[in-house]
């Protein structure tokens, strides 16, 4: 059954969304001006890691795959496994930048009627459970657009979102979003690709939080090997910015994390984690095996931490 309520009606029906933030929430409902002055939690995290020479482990999961309670349980496991920043993937009907693994996760989550609003709720509920790491919302442009930009940014800030990745919003189309994000101290994280060449300079100029280097041409998904030029590409980006640089797309195992951690400040692992969750769905849905399945996910992610 599909709910028929408008976004505003949903908000009214969910008073918890309006308040109830834990004291520890760093970006909880104060004025936009005040919010803009505080350091962003992503920047704080990278600064602390920088002091010890550590590399941020940035896992990705699709919210609501296989259901919301499991997502919340997995988020706790990810933090305990050593995750530093979390990408919360908003499921979308037409995920252009994603390979089959995340496409399937999106489809499963959409069966659970997951919306942008639900994803923001998950961020708030994870905070209430004591999860400390910064949250980056990964979403295609259209779901935010239909939420309404004013409402989206207000709610994202209120629910403790520190960063935003919009894979189909290139620099040229991002001005309005960047200004709106700045006003509520949310980092609109720029993506640079191996094909960006002379575009890198202007993309970096408006960068916030960290720079997301797309490791290779193509969509998300595990890769056995990387293009020869990838190291030079990452070094080039590193040399042009003071922002932390994270690498993603195709990184799936400890060796690869190790390899990239020598070049940059953070490593994103997406499809490999989503696939691990996918294979464990029957166990996650079985009360007797759930605990063990959650531990397996934690173990898989802990292995990635270098």
């Amino acid at each position: 059954m599909k709910p028929n309520f408008s976004m505003t009606q949903r908000l009214l029906m969910n008073p918890a969304a309006e308040g109830g933030l834990s004291a520890g929430t760093p970006q909880g409902g104060d004025s936009p001006a005040a919010a803009a002055k505080r350091p962003n939690l992503i920047e704080e995290t990278f600064r602390k890691l920088g002091e010890t020479g550590g590399t941020a482990l940035i896992p990705f999961l699709t919210v609501g795959d296989p259901d919301l309670d499991t997502t919340l349980d997995i988020i706790e496991q990810l933090e305990q496994a050593g995750a530093d920043v979390l990408e919360l993937g908003v499921p979308y009907s037409d995920p252009l930048a994603d390979g089959p693994v995340i496409q399937r996760a999106s489809a499963r989550a959409l069966e659970q009627l997951i919306t942008v609003r639900t994803c923001l709720d998950v961020a708030r509920r994870a905070r209430e459970r004591g999860v400390k790491m910064p949250f980056v919302l990964f979403t295609y442009y259209n779901p935010i657009l239909q939420t309404g930009l004013d409402l989206f940014f207000e709610e994202a800030a209120r629910n403790g979102i520190s960063g935003l990745i919009i894979p189909d919003l290139p620099y040229e189309e991002s001005e309005d979003m960047l200004q709106r994000a700045d006003r509520v101290n949310i980092a609109l994280i720029p993506l640079v690709a191996p094909t960006s060449s002379e575009r890198i300079e202007k993309i970096l100029r408006s960068g916030r939080g960290f720079v997301y280097c797309v490791s290779s041409l193509g969509v998300t998904g595990e890769r056995a090997s990387f293009h020869d030029g990838v190291d030079a590409f990452i070094r080039d980006v590193k040399s042009r910015t003071d922002l932390p640089v994270a690498v993603g797309f195709g990184i799936s195992g400890r060796d690869q994390v190790q390899r990239f951690s020598e070049l940059c400040d953070g490593v994103v692992v997406g499809s490999a984690i989503v696939r691990t969750i996918e294979t464990l769905i029957p166990d996650l849905m079985n009360a007797d095996k759930r605990e063990d399945a959650l531990l397996q996910i934690r173990k898989f992610v802990a292995e990635l931490k270098v």
Binding site: S93, D94, L96, N142, Q146, D168, E172, E173, P194, G218
Partner: protein, 401 residues
Amino acid sequence: MIGQVPDAKGRYGEFGGRFVPETLMNALIELEESYLKFSADADFNAELNDLLKQYSGRETPLYYAKRLTEHFGGAKVYLKREDLNHTGAHKINNALGQGLLAVRMGKKKVIAETGAGQHGVATATVAALLGLECKVFMGEEDMHRQQLNVFRMRLLGAEVVPVVSGTKTLKDAGNEALRYWVSHVQDTFYILGSAVGPHPYPLIVRNFQRVIGDETRRQILETEGRLPDTIVAAVGGGSNAIGMFYPFVGDADVDFIGVEAAGKGIDTPLHAATMSLGTKGVFQGSMSYLLQDEYGQVQPAHSISAGLDYPGVGPEHSYLKDVGRAKYVPITDEEAITALKLLCRTEGIIPALESAHAVAHAAKIAPEMGADRILVICLSGRGDKDVESIMAYEKEGGDAQ
């Protein structure tokens, strides 16, 4: 009055733009630059015009449909016979243009998405003609509906890649083509088939299709000594319609009617009536009207015609609608089938199911127009490919697909 669109950012008013992964941005900029360069190049245009004439058989006739006119008992009806093009539809106009552009840009591999298979066949044909390697992405559902076209593409040496994601129709074929292009952007040219997608595609496709309207304008002036009162064309993504409308945009007395697919009816969930029921959103690289839910998830479309079975529409059509220059109306599967049969029996022409939607709307308005009025229908393609779909529809008492 309507301004020059698109602007430098590829915007048609608030529509259009370029919403794609960063990996594709430089490829789109390079495509735009190459297009602007070669479209102003005399050799390029001479080669394209020669192929349009000698290879595709242009110009296509603007045929006075006497018996159809008598049947309607109103406006004088002309058919722009794009069905007489080589490969059987208007799609070849654009495929030849983009294929030549691919060659000029030094690309040896081309990809395409296809719904009904007409653009896939056109691209496979052009690839064979120009010696290019060709992959066509096609929804598995459409491969069943259009087996003849799948076979044609394979005969022509193209690889047909079945798309099993999402609704397994045109929108997913488009997604898969874009995903493939992201991975192979350095040596592959994406021959996009409709006036949709990120800038500069809607512009390029419109300009390669405007030959339809340019010829029609010249032909009607020759035959009738004046412009038509109304032009009707089917709209899925909207390439034949924009190609037909565009040369008349400045002629305020010429009415444009785009006909979209109402499937089982716009009061049912099974339709592709993007203009009648859609809202503004970003889909497959541009801002336009879109069938979506309130959370921004794209809704599956439905039409008996695979070429109109698409939840989006070209940004220039959304612009023409919003500025009031064009009107868009829905036609159901059943109305389209009835019109298809009417054209078969009055004129001996089997139109494509897509084009039959335009004929169906003409059937509604022509009888109401005076005998001194002129109505032009863009007959975008021929119906041989649809014979199986029509047989299935008949067999199931109008309930197929």
